[in-house]
């Protein structure tokens, strides 16, 4: 049991902190979910990338610093503690990039990753369809074989970032004749401005277009944009979403910073007794999440793979995030109703936590069945 970072990692922390101190905007950027804010966040990605801080865990040749898992956690702690902006490149960096590292070709990596690192190309995800939410295997959008590539037809929805993003990745049914619905799906990338793509932004609760519907009418995708083998998309995507639920979706640094801000807010309001327990519990939960992650990272470094324990992770952080923001709004009293504060924006964002990346009900089923060995019931 050793919670001390190596001197080299501490030196890295110092470099990150110094850079962030010098560069993090003094006033918050406009909301990421507005056209203006999207552009400002894209510029911030470029600023990060210019000094190789945008994708620290990637190999140097793609713009990273070859940072290992622990160093990445250190970076994230510093990043969020510094109050730095949300990451507009998150979908690509957190979901597509790990898939490319695992299943992509060298050509794909060399072509796709560098502009992702600089924010030049921002990626949206295109998983869900109107009839396939939690039940992702029910996907119906088609990829039909054609000369040198595929033609996409169908309807995707809840495509986060797609209102302003450049490209998207997702699963399409390339073989409709398979025995099981998980088979015959292909993982591919496409251009959101290609002929045949219609993007209809959807406003979330506060009206901001945080996601979009995608109507795909005979959209051509060249073979070079298929990831892995055609028909193997489900397996490839599952390894990505396992990452999504696991370590890399929500770094502990984020909640440590939010909990510290909550305590600050509480003190600024005169430390009211009614929120005392909830503020303490947020601080404790953020610390627990940090330590849980360090334990998981240590196991990964020992060669273990993260399995269904990621489902506990997902339930824990999404409930922490919501509780933390609800407490903040309560502390703000009548002002908590205002839509234009940072806490309100964080609150609206946190409301989605228990829903996306696998609802918390699905996660609890996984914990019960795969970690506790309870019988698979009809859900």
């Amino acid at each position: 049991m050793d919670l001390t970072h190596s001197p080299a990692d501490e030196e890295f922390r110092g470099q990150a902190r110094a850079w962030l101190d010098a560069h993090v905007p003094r006033t918050p950027l406009p909301s990421l979910e507005t056209e203006e804010g999207f552009a400002a966040h894209r510029a911030w990605e470029a600023e990060l990338a210019a000094d190789r801080w945008s994708v620290v865990s990637w190999p140097e040749r793609y713009g990273g610093r070859d940072a290992g898992l622990l160093r990445w956690l250190v970076f994230e702690e510093e990043y969020w503690a510094a109050g730095a902006p949300g990451r507009v490149g998150q979908n690509g960096i957190g979901l597509l990039a790990p898939t490319l590292f695992a299943y992509g070709t060298e050509e794909q990596r060399a072509r796709v990753l560098p502009p992702m690192a600089t924010g030049e190309v921002v990626w949206a995800q295109a998983w869900s369809e109107p009839e396939a939410g939690s039940d992702l295997a029910a996907l119906g959008s088609r990829a039909v074989r054609t000369d040198g590539g595929w033609r996409l037809r169908g309807h995707k929805t809840w495509s986060s970032r797609a209102a302003f993003a450049d490209r998207a990745f997702g699963l399409f049914r390339s073989d409709p004749e398979t025995e099981r619905p998980h088979q015959g799906l292909t993982y591919l990338m496409f251009d959101l401005r290609a002929p045949g793509v219609t993007v209809r932004p959807i406003g979330r609760l506060d009206g901001r277009p945080a996601f979009a519907e995608l109507f795909l009418d005979d959209v051509f995708v060249p073979d070079e944009d298929v990831i892995g083998e055609p028909g193997q998309g489900w397996r490839i995507a599952m390894s990505t979403t396992a990452d999504e639920r696991g370590l890399t979706l929500r770094s502990p640094g984020r909640f440590l910073a939010s909990a510290a801000r909550l305590r600050h807010l509480w003190r600024a309001q005169g430390s009211p007794g009614h929120a005392r327990d909830r503020v303490a519990d947020a601080l404790i939960a953020a610390r627990a999440y940090q330590l849980f992650t360090y334990a998981a990272a240590s196991r990964v470094l020992d060669g273990a793979r993260l399995g269904p324990e990621s489902s506990m992770n997902k339930v824990f952080w999404s409930e922490l995030d919501l509780a933390l923001h609800e407490t903040a709004l309560d502390l703000l009293g009548a002002e908590g109703e205002r839509a234009d504060g940072a806490w309100a924006e964080g609150y609206v964002f946190s409301l989605a936590g228990p829903i996306y990346a696998g609802t918390n009900e699905i996660q609890r089923d996984i914990v019960a069945e795969r970690l506790l060995g309870l019988p698979k019931g009809r859900r």
């Binding site: 009839e131 406003g203 609760l205 109703e337």
Partner: protein
């Protein structure tokens, strides 16, 4: 002792419900949110015609009141349809202006719906102050008739609630005004509205989970889904008697308890509704959002949970609050 709505009260609720259903409130709410108040004002007139505001106004000034129970009945329906506008505030204004000579000057237009009113919360916002000409500001020196500060209204998490600021000063209407009594009525109306919001959210969610299929079955057949909805139902059905008890006694602590409980139940139901709708519930364009966001906003309006609990602990909920012998325990 007969703690039930009578047939007249039930018929009143049904009539309001039918009228509001026909009025297509979601469209009204959306234009109100954009600052276009025409349809909202028209609906307001019909609500006034149905006698809702008159329930807080005595007969001699054009009302039929005070009738707090009927007012609660009406506000449950207003909440159920997410009617926009300073509804509870207009009730509060009727109480603030309830004594002559102010009553003669203001109440008839208020009861008839000609003049919606708002009340600036001390130190806070004047809800929809940009939509009304009658903005009351209670202050230590007395009750002011204020104007609204020019400039854009603040956005609320509930887009139908437009947060304006009243300008300091204005015409001093009275040196003393019954602010505490007005607050009790505003809270009662808010509690009723919240209960209605919660009931609508539950209804819509039950309908959704019966239709929405995942893994080959309606999601409403999953026990986790059923139990969340059963809990929402239970919370709302236990808030209901607190509301009508508070309307019957009008004791400030009872009203505070009803306000707290109805708002908590509505907010918990909103969380459940959002969760069980999944992503679609998270969008502004789906009508569910109109109720979801209102549930959050009402929770902190006119008495946050903490304030309401303070009143309960200080004043007690029962007139005959028997203090048991300490030594027996």
């Amino acid at each position: 002792m007969r703690f039930l709505l009578d047939s007249g009260q039930r018929a009143f609720a049904d009539a309001l419900h039918a009228m509001l259903t026909a009025a297509d409130t979601p469209a009204v709410i959306r234009s109100w949110s954009r600052g276009d108040h025409a349809r909202g004002r028209a609906l307001w007139s019909r609500i006034a015609e149905a006698g809702v505001f008159g329930l807080a106004v005595p007969e001699e000034y054009g009302g039929a009141g005070p009738h707090p129970v009927e007012l609660a009945v009406a506000f449950v329906e207003l909440g159920r349809h997410a009617v926009p506008g300073p509804l509870a505030e207009t009730v509060g204004a009727a109480v603030l202006l309830g004594d002559p000579p102010l009553a003669e000057r203001f109440l008839p237009a208020l009861a008839s719906g000609e003049r919606p009113a708002t009340v600036a919360a001390p130190g806070g916002y004047a809800l929809d102050g940009d939509a009304v000409s009658l903005c009351l500001s209670p202050a230590p020196e007395g009750l002011y008739l204020s104007t609204v500060t020019p400039g854009p209204v603040r956005r609320s998490l509930d887009p139908a609630r437009r947060l304006a600021r009243s300008a300091p000063g204005g015409e001093l209407l009275a040196r003393e005004a019954p602010y505490d009594r007005a607050l009790t009525w505003i809270r009662l109306a808010t509690a009723a509205q919240a209960l209605g919001v919660g009931l609508a959210l539950l209804d819509r969610t039950v309908t959704h989970v019966r239709r929405r299929t995942q893994f080959g079955v309606p999601i409403g057949s999953f026990q986790a889904v059923k139990h969340r909805l059963a809990d929402a139902k239970t919370a709302l059905e236990f808030a209901r008697p607190l509301l009508f008890g508070a309307a019957t006694t009008l004791r400030p602590a009872e009203v505070a308890a009803a306000k707290l409980t109805a708002c908590e139940a509505a907010y918990r139901t909103a969380r459940t509704a959002l969760h069980l709708h999944g992503a679609i519930g998270y969008t502004a364009e789906y009508d569910l959002s109109l109720w979801l966001t209102k549930a959050r906003a009402l929770r902190s309006a006119w008495g946050a949970p903490e304030e309401c609990r303070d009143l309960v602990l200080t004043d007690g909920l029962q007139e005959t609050d028997g203090q048991p012998e300490a030594d027996a325990w």
